[in-house]
Amino acid sequence: MTDPDLPITEDDLHAYVDGQLPPGRRPEIERYLAANPETGRRIAAYQDQRMALRAALAGVSEPLPPKLDLTQILQERRRPRAGMWRIAAGLVLALGIGGAGGWFLHGPATPNRTTLALSLLEQQALATHTVFAADRRHPIEVGAAEEAHLRQWLSNRLGRTVVPPDLTAAGYHLIGGRLLATEHGAAAALFMYDDAAGKRLSLLLRPMSTDLRVPLTDIGQGDMKGCIWIEKGMGYAAVAALPDTELDRIAGHIRAELGTG
């Protein structure tokens, strides 16, 4: 990186102005500029220019107009979609289709379908965690003591093998699980975990269209934070009242355990 014989190029001089030089090369450039005063003056002018541009532009910050309010943009985007799934769900119910599992929209995975899937997954995960994690006595239907039964039951209902990941290495123990319903009458599964302090973590598994694939995405609402992702026909959501970094760590364990990482 810092071969002393390396010739000094115009690009190096700009990198010097912008602080983008490879480590250790700076003294060489400074020696060169001292030895070549004309270039030195030109580079000094570039440095002044850079500072003046920043001083003139970087300070300008005005209040955001409503149309640039992200929360508002998000709401505008979600509203029509929420309406769309209600219509679609209504059709599914009316026609008696949309059996176990599966996703009611078909065709190639467009950004809108992906956004819709993520939005449904997020809403269900946050709502489910809010209701069941707060329930001290009955957060689950089948306890970890009957784990074999829990697996069998949920696998039967979801129409695919469902296994609660072992999160002992992450400091979380399985309390048990329960069956959930989706908006369009399909089955989803919830596993509940807690740590030594009794802090709860919920993991939602919801069958989705096999062509959807979404990497780890953050969700959250107040203190409740979560990560969601979609892989191999299954949507996953891990939710807990934990800092983002902690959740990322746990999500890493979950993905490794499930083989979806």
Binding site: A55, A56, K67, T115
Partner: protein
């Protein structure tokens, strides 16, 4: 609001600043930022998780700007600096650098859009040369030559007295 949303929100002032350097009208600039945010939310799942969010947003905005400019090429008209009112000037200096800033910003406006983009992304927005190359969709060598020419032209304009951009129109 999730962490990602908060990070995106933090980029909005920089996006507005850059949009105003591309488009001379503040309203147009904010429209461009709005469209950029909508598109970013649509495409958020396609973003590489390890990539820099700011560079990604700048790239989306730049692509929107390019396709819009291409579309409007026939209908568009060039507004000369003298026609532009002080309050619609693309970029406004803060008070304390007003005098020095005004000359500088006029000179900046006199640069070609290609040169101005590179100069601002590098000098003001602190993107790396590699990120600028991604944002603008040009090779890094092109970024460096544009940067070099932009800086030299700006220097000559500010040091010289009879550059076209600063000459008074009678």
């Amino acid at each position: 609001m999730t962490g990602l949303m908060a990070s995106m929100e933090a980029c909005i002032p920089a996006l507005r600043r850059y949009a105003r350097s591309l488009l001379h009208d503040r309203q147009d600039a904010d429209d461009l930022v709005h469209d950029c945010l909508v598109r970013a939310l649509d495409q958020i799942h396609t973003r590489r998780e390890d990539g820099d969010l700011r560079a990604w947003l700048f790239a989306i905005m730049h692509n929107l700007f390019v396709s819009r400019t291409r579309r409007n090429k026939t209908a568009g008209r060039t507004v000369s600096l003298q026609e532009v009112g002080e309050d619609t000037l693309s970029i406004r200096a803060s008070q304390d650098v007003h005098m020095q800033g005004r000359d500088l910003l006029r000179a900046l406006d006199a640069l070609s859009e290609e040169h101005r983009s590179v100069l601002l992304l590098v000098s003001v927005e602190d993107l790396s040369y590699a990120e600028v190359s991604q944002v603008l969709g040009v090779p890094i060598g092109t970024v460096m030559s544009r940067l070099s020419r932009a800086r030299e032209r700006l220097r000559l304009m500010l040091e010289g007295e009879t550059t076209p951009a600063l000459r008074r129109v009678k």
